[in-house]
């Protein structure tokens, strides 16, 4: 069994309550922080830990925190990104639902480190049940003197609120999230300025993922060096991986960064192998936005080394032969899954979710969906395959926010690794997806 930081007590009965959570050592980091540590000392520990943002981009958290503009006397904000909407990703919801206090403790300790007096947890609106759980837990924390005025008798005060979204994947992008929190449409902002300088209400703001924030208490309690000792290289600590698709044991797993992909897929501790005795065909390792890899390349790198569950190993080979750890949304496809159909579904998703501000994304995602639809439904032409590649290329790097890339990468990688499957759809549409041809899945808009 690997080291557990977040899920160690997940099965303790009543761990969702303050009483049991505290009995298991919960909120120790708040006591330690407000009584024994300066905010800067905490930022130093987080830097030492090597923790990287768990929302998808993997940016070093300590560095992000140190960018926070302290030169103004405007208020500073910490905003937690609990918008979790990336297809394949369901770790944050799991954590908040099962151990809400882990996030709240992290929010208090992190807010103290950043000098925030008001913080928000932005939860996607569809997760109303989670919002109710968090609000109940926050109430308990206020009653226990862990939130509000003079936390645990110290001079530090903090108010913490939960904000519901309204249903929009794009609000997971941090500047769209801030717009949404200001009561506007979720249109991503042009950057710079970055939120560290111009964030919520034009004030210095840090936006962090749920899991990132939930990791902070352990780092404060045990020190950054202890955290950095877990994992390999620049992939320190543990990571929640939400595994789904054609495996025997879908679920959320906390892994030490550095185990092999093979072990993760086949061992009984994790996914337990491919379901129904079938063969592995492909994996999308980090949420729907990252490149898909076929069996051989997800298990071993192009240099024939075992692929590891780390930021570096998963991206080894660049996009030619590698992918990304992303959000940890691990989607497994067995031999019977159709790559074309899955790609069409994802393209439909990105088209639906584009905010429409920039034309390469707005037009490009719609065009890719349309072309994929005709290939999937038996009306494709051979030229369509290269057309898709070129549309994808024309989106990349030309948009305000990375949703454009998130839509382009899956298309480029699926054709790179599974071109024959696209050709087969064009040449002989009845061969693969015949069962789908007579009845379409619900249309986009």
């Amino acid at each position: 069994m690997g080291k557990k930081i977040l899920l160690e007590h997940i099965n303790v009965p009543g761990i969702n309550t303050l009483e049991v959570y505290r009995k298991m050592g919960g909120y120790e980091s708040v006591r330690k922080a407000v009584n024994e540590m300066t905010p800067d000392a905490i930022v130093e520990e987080v830097k030492k830990s090597g923790l990287r943002g768990r929302g998808g981009a993997g940016f070093p958290t300590g560095m992000k925190w140190s960018f926070l503009d302290k030169s103004t006397d405007k208020p500073r904000y910490l905003v937690c990104n609990a918008d979790e909407s990336e297809p394949g990703t369901f770790k944050d919801r799991y954590l908040m639902q099962r151990i809400p206090h882990a996030l709240i403790e992290g929010m208090i300790t992190s807010s103290y480190a950043l000098g925030a007096r008001t913080s928000y947890i932005y939860v996607r609106g569809e997760m109303m049940p989670v919002i109710r759980i968090l609000e109940k837990a926050i109430k308990e924390a206020y009653a226990a003197g862990l939130l509000g005025k003079n936390i645990l008798g110290s001079s530090y005060s903090l108010d913490l609120y939960v904000q519901p979204g309204g249903g929009a994947y794009i609000c997971g992008e941090e500047t769209a999230l801030l717009e949404s929190l200001e009561g506007k449409r979720g249109n991503p902002r042009n950057k710079p300025p970055f939120p560290a300088v111009w964030g919520l209400y034009g004030c210095p703001t840090v936006v962090n993922n749920v899991e990132t924030i939930a990791d902070i208490p352990w780092i404060v309690n045990h020190g950054g060096d202890a955290y950095a000792a877990i994992g390999v290289g620049k992939s320190t600590g543990t990571k929640l991986i939400s595994a789904c698709g054609n495996i025997n044991k879908p679920g959320v797993y906390e892994i030490e960064l550095g185990i092999t992909v093979e072990d993760f897929i086949y061992s009984d501790e994790y996914c337990g192998g491919i379901a129904n005795g079938r063969e592995l065909k492909a994996v999308v390792a980090g949420g729907s936005s990252v490149p898909i890899l076929p069996k051989n390349l997800i298990l071993t790198t192009a240099n024939n080394e075992k692929r590891l569950m780390t930021y570096e190993s998963l991206s080894d080979g660049g996009f030619a032969t590698g992918t990304m750890l992303g959000s940890g949304g691990f989607i497994v496809f067995d031999e019977q899954q159709c790559i074309v159909r899955n790609l069409w579904n994802f393209s439909r998703f990105y088209h639906h979710e584009s905010c429409g501000q920039c034309s390469p994304c707005r037009e490009g995602t719609g065009w890719m969906e349309k072309v994929l639809h005709r290939i999937e439904y038996g009306h494709g032409k051979m030229e369509d395959i290269d057309l898709l590649v070129s549309i994808a290329k024309n989106i990349e790097g030309k948009t305000i926010c990375p949703l454009g890339e998130a839509a382009a990468w899956p298309v480029a990688s699926a054709i790179r690794h599974f071109r024959a499957e696209f050709e087969a759809h064009v040449q002989n549409p009845d061969s693969c997806c015949k069962k789908h041809l007579h009845r379409e899945l619900v249309h986009s808009h």
Partner: protein, 165 residues
């Protein structure tokens, strides 16, 4: 048409929500208030949105443009129970698509449509962060998750909702 106004009915709650933001940033309460207005009406009639604009001292257009951006808000009358089924890839790979078709056949309406008795609308939605326990469905205003859906579970759920009416 009867509009349920929220200003008095949910007064305490609204005041509490507005107190969460700086005094000059009341507009931040927009999404929470839209959820409340929709909870009361089942959807968002223009008059209900205008009331929200009034409560927050913003222009009605600022409310309409937001309400129409987010997928959870219904700008037209809709069934009493909106069956929101995830149609994104991972759920489809474990049978969501077949279940959506089953639901269409069972209720005799296509997705996006409402049954003649006004009870049910089928609304496809995107990934609900429950991909490990798909297929999955939600029904507002509580938005409980119904996970690992099967035809039997759907039958039972529909029966229960019908019986409650």
């Amino acid at each position: 048409m009867n509009i349920e106004y929220i200003k008095e009915k949910r007064k305490g709650e609204i005041a509490d929500i507005i107190s969460r933001y700086p005094a000059d940033r009341k507009k931040s309460a927009l999404l929470p208030l839209l959820h409340i207005a929709q909870e009361e009406n089942g959807w968002l009639p223009v008059d209900a949105m205008d009331e929200v604009a009034d409560i927050l001292d913003i222009k009605p257009i600022e409310v309409y443009e937001v309400a129409s951006f987010y997928t959870m808000f219904h700008l037209k009358p809709i069934g009493k129970y909106v069956l929101e089924v995830c149609r994104t890839g991972p759920c489809c790979n474990v049978g969501a698509e077949e279940l959506i078709h089953y639901l269409e056949d069972k209720l005799g309406v296509a997705v996006g449509e409402t049954t003649a008795d006004g009870l049910f609308t089928i609304k496809p939605v995107e990934c609900l962060a429950a991909c490990g326990t798909g297929p999955v469905l939600q029904i507002g205003p509580e938005y409980h998750y119904h996970e690992n859906l099967t035809r039997e579970k759907l039958d039972q759920l529909i029966d229960e909702l019908r019986r409650a009416n």
